[in-house]
């Protein structure tokens, strides 16, 4: 066994004297060449293996774009990408209210504070991957404060009479919580302890918030607006 450090030979940190010795050895000792080839082959194998891992480049570019050019910049409405912690906190609110049977992953990919419903819908649709209707809750004392979304899931946050309510949409099946069915303007609603649910065009909607009566009013308005789109 020779005493050449082939890593130093490869990275150029070897002293000139040592390098000369190594070069001589490579000419005369086949085993030295095998060692060097072994190191090179090893590095090549590692690199090749690591580069086989799939990278969601399209998703990452969307994230980058959302940071550099928030979609509301044209309208001048307030837009702010929340720090991850805040996004997670908002997601946690939705998760606890919705329950794990509906949304098992509380991580929300993107969160945006926005007051314009059309912009919110466009942002949410991009992240959710399905058509998200703009919802204004016309006729109610409601203010849109933000939206968050991930693949297959979108949520609008509204302040209604000073309290926070969520209108969520998802493409995965809703859980079968016990509740009361109610038919209103041709739409079936399920009123359950967690909120009000309904389905429209394969999207499962749910309204959550502190007051039962307000939840119903929100659901009624949201369902009407969503069905028009």
């Amino acid at each position: 066994m020779n005493k050449i450090n082939w890593q130093e030979y490869e990275d150029g940190s070897m002293t000139p004297e040592m390098r000369k010795t190594a070069d001589e050895l490579l000419k005369t000792d086949p085993k030295a060449q095998e060692e060097l080839d072994g190191l090179r082959s090893f590095r090549k194998s590692i690199r090749k293996a690591c580069l086989t891992e799939p990278v969601p480049e399209h998703k990452l570019r969307k994230i980058l774009r959302s940071i550099v050019s928030p979609t509301g910049s044209k309208s001048g409405s307030r837009r702010l990408l929340l720090p991850l912690g805040a996004a997670a906190a908002m997601a946690a609110v939705a998760w606890f209210a919705f329950g794990p049977s509906i949304t098992t992953d509380p991580n929300v990919e993107r969160t945006l504070m926005v007051s314009n419903s059309t912009e919110a819908a466009a942002f949410a649709a991009e992240g959710a991957g399905f058509a998200v209707p703009p919802i204004t809750l016309a006729g109610l004392n409601a203010t849109l404060t933000g939206t968050h979304c991930k693949d297959g899931f979108a949520c609008f946050d509204f302040l209604v009479d000073g309290a926070l309510y969520h209108v969520t949409m998802q493409t995965s099946p809703a859980s079968t919580d016990p509740g009361t069915m109610k038919r209103h303007e041709g739409q079936d609603f399920l009123i359950c302890p967690k909120g009000v649910r309904w389905e429209d065009d394969s999207v499962n909607f749910m309204v959550m918030g502190p007051d039962e009566e307000t939840r119903w009013k929100i659901a009624e308005a949201a369902a009407r607006e969503a069905s028009i789109v």
Binding site: Q7, E34, G38, L39, S41, K44, S45, R47, I63
Partner: protein, 175 residues
């Protein structure tokens, strides 16, 4: 003198580094969702600091931010978590590359790489996979160049040792 980049350059400059950041995040123990989240929060920080960036070693600068973000995440989960040295082990002395012919399956290599201590994983990832220079890797890991070199040496030795038994060709080459 090197001037900082313009704000408008951020997207075009950073775009090509996204795969690197994602792979490094994965190497720091993130699952796929966590890697995306970590990259996102690193990009937000980088964007905020872009005008203060001196324009040198963009990749290292981004990885350093990414590493800090990951560290903050780990600390919020486990207060004593660290990405630093697990022990005082440094470079082995003996050369060991004789009779090596690596024909490992990618999954096997990734599994074993995953099992290395964080600092060694990073050394391999940055130097061997992403092909950063020692100087760039040192900047990214916030350590001296000599430490990068010794960690890399050690990392390769550990990885080789772990992979050797399955190669069927390396028995006896580990002494």
């Amino acid at each position: 003198m090197i001037f900082g980049p313009k704000k408008g350059d951020f997207e075009s400059s950073v775009k090509k580094e996204l795969p690197v950041l994602y792979r490094v995040a994965r190497r720091m123990g993130c699952n796929q969702d966590e890697a995306e989240d970590t990259v996102q929060s690193a990009l937000i920080k980088a964007y905020q600091a872009w005008e203060r960036f001196d324009g040198r070693h963009l990749r290292s600068w981004l990885i350093r931010i990414l590493r800090n973000e990951r560290l903050m995440q780990l600390r919020s989960e486990k207060p004593h978590s660290s990405l630093d040295e697990p022990g005082a082990v440094e470079a082995a002395e003996e050369p060991f590359w004789e009779e090596v012919s690596w024909r490992m399956e990618a999954d096997r290599i990734l599994d074993e790489l995953e099992n290395l201590p964080e600092v060694y994983k990073m050394a391999i990832q940055l130097c061997d996979v992403e092909q950063l220079t020692y100087e760039e890797a040192a900047t990214a890991m916030d350590v001296p160049i000599g430490t990068v070199r010794s960690r890399l040496f050690r990392a390769r030795a550990m990885l080789r040792k772990r992979l050797a038994p399955v190669s069927g060709q390396l028995e006896g080459a580990l002494s």
